[in-house]
């Protein structure tokens, strides 16, 4: 045994315990040992990396005055999930229809007029609430350019929701929908919710596709549909939220099997007080919402 501390009572703010090291090094400062044997450090290292120690327990770190900052940071990154589900979305459609602007409008509530072409895929997240449940949307916005098709297709797998976008002022983008839909159907699972968005609704004067025909296309193919504007924000929120509601419904009525590898949904049961450090990598990654 390297050291044993099981019987030592811990009180925050007061360190009064005596770790018994493997060697002979006993406390030098009156009852308080400051000598650490290597194996202990080693264990600490392993515990942090393997996530064996819980967040709750790590709070005890702050009993040393040098520690508050470290403990705080670990606590921050190891905090409990503040959402119970993760839904994966993809946004697909021709180049220039406004996919990236829609994502940006949804995650940042801003419109960027001069948006450079997306390189491969862009990533965004936002936490929303459906039926009192916090849900984290993990959104992959794909580049419409043909040169990225191979790369972007690899993100379809396991999507719970797909937003398929065309530009109401450019008929060609509407005409290509059937090929986008074929791709989506082939590469996602049968339960993937596909939502059709006719974007740039603010440019009604330049309209090239009527609402009625798009609505009919959507009905024929079993898609949800709105016209939206990433510029004004009209219906943007709705499109993302309605998709989530539908996915959530599918979970509730059992048609979406969460255990299926490709469901595109992850369930995160929250366990107050016993949040494991292994969450650390997870939540920090989540914070890194690029």
């Amino acid at each position: 045994m390297v050291f044993s501390l099981a019987q030592v009572p811990i009180e925050p703010g007061r360190a009064r315990s005596v770790p018994v090291n493997s060697g002979q090094s006993r406390g030098r400062e009156g009852g308080t040992s400051t000598t650490l044997a290597w194996p202990s450090l080693h264990s600490l290292h392993i515990a942090i990396l393997r996530g064996q120690s819980s967040c709750h327990e790590l709070e005890l770190f702050s009993i040393d005055s040098r520690l508050p900052r470290l403990a705080y940071q670990i606590k921050m990154s190891a905090g409990p999930y503040n959402y119970s589900y993760i839904f994966k979305y993809i946004i697909i459609g021709d180049m220039g229809v406004g996919k990236s602007c829609l994502l940006h409008q949804f995650t940042e509530k801003k419109f960027m007029a001069d948006c450079p072409h997306t390189i491969g895929v862009e990533f965004g997240t936002r936490i929303i609430e459906v039926a009192g449940q916090k849900i984290k949307l993990q959104i992959w916005d794909t580049a419409g350019q043909e040169r990225f098709r191979a790369v972007t297709r690899s993100y379809y797998r396991g999507a719970a929701g797909a937003l398929m976008v065309y530009d109401i002022t450019r008929r060609s983008t509407y005409n290509h929908l059937s090929s986008w839909l074929t791709d989506a159907r082939n590469l996602t699972n049968p339960n993937t919710v596909i939502f059709l968005i006719g974007n740039k609704a603010d440019l009604d004067a330049q309209r090239d596709v009527t609402y009625e025909e798009a609505k009919q296309f959507a009905e024929e193919n079993g898609l949800m549909f709105v016209e939206a504007s990433a510029k004004t924000g009209e219906n943007v929120e709705e499109a993302f939220l309605e998709t989530a509601k539908k996915i959530y419904q599918n979970i509730q009525d059992g048609s979406l099997d969460l255990n299926a590898a490709e469901s595109g949904v992850q369930h995160k049961p929250t366990q107050p007080g016993r949040t494991n450090l292994s969450n650390d990598s997870q939540s920090s990654r989540d914070n890194c919402s690029c």
Partner: protein, 151 residues
């Protein structure tokens, strides 16, 4: 499905195999098109194996030097991703910042830069937690001891 962001998500190994095959076939015929090489490289830098990522980086660097590709920004972007995934953060930032010199307000690149910096900090923190153990003194050990003995 794995929880993911740009720097930690990985591609499916079977996808990588498909594009490796395309690449090898063209290689056997004597000339690899930029498209095939780019696709293969994009999957390589998303592999979970560092050796693959390294190979992806070499292929991207070669593409970037091809005269007919005119130093395409796409290669630089994926070079930034590849290097960041190898924890070569300084190199990755250099690439990202190179792109930002040309397009200072490119949101996608700004986010990548932010993401690289965050990963960098996180790694530094992990390092500090380990190295810091030496100066943590009693408190850490007490906490840890309790944590371990409870298991």
């Amino acid at each position: 499905m794995e929880v993911a962001d740009l720097l930690s998500e990985t591609c499916a190994p079977e996808d990588l195999k498909v594009f490796e095959k395309h690449y090898n076939e063209e290689m056997c015929k004597g000339e690899v098109s930029s498209k095939t090489q780019f696709e293969y490289a994009c999957f390589l830098v998303r592999s979970k194996y560092p050796a693959d990522i390294q190979r992806g980086i070499v292929l991207l660097e070669e593409l970037y030097k091809r005269p007919d590709e005119g130093g395409n920004r796409d290669f630089i972007y994926y070079l930034a991703i590849g290097n960041a995934r190898l924890k070569e953060y300084e190199v990755a930032l250099k690439y990202a910042q190179g792109l930002l010199r040309v397009e200072p307000s490119n949101r996608q690149v700004l986010q990548l830069e932010k993401c690289i910096k965050k990963k960098m900090e996180k790694d530094a923190l992990k390092g500090a937690a380990i190295a810091g153990g030496a100066i943590l003194g009693l408190g850490a050990l007490v906490g840890l001891g309790v944590a371990l003995t409870r298991k």
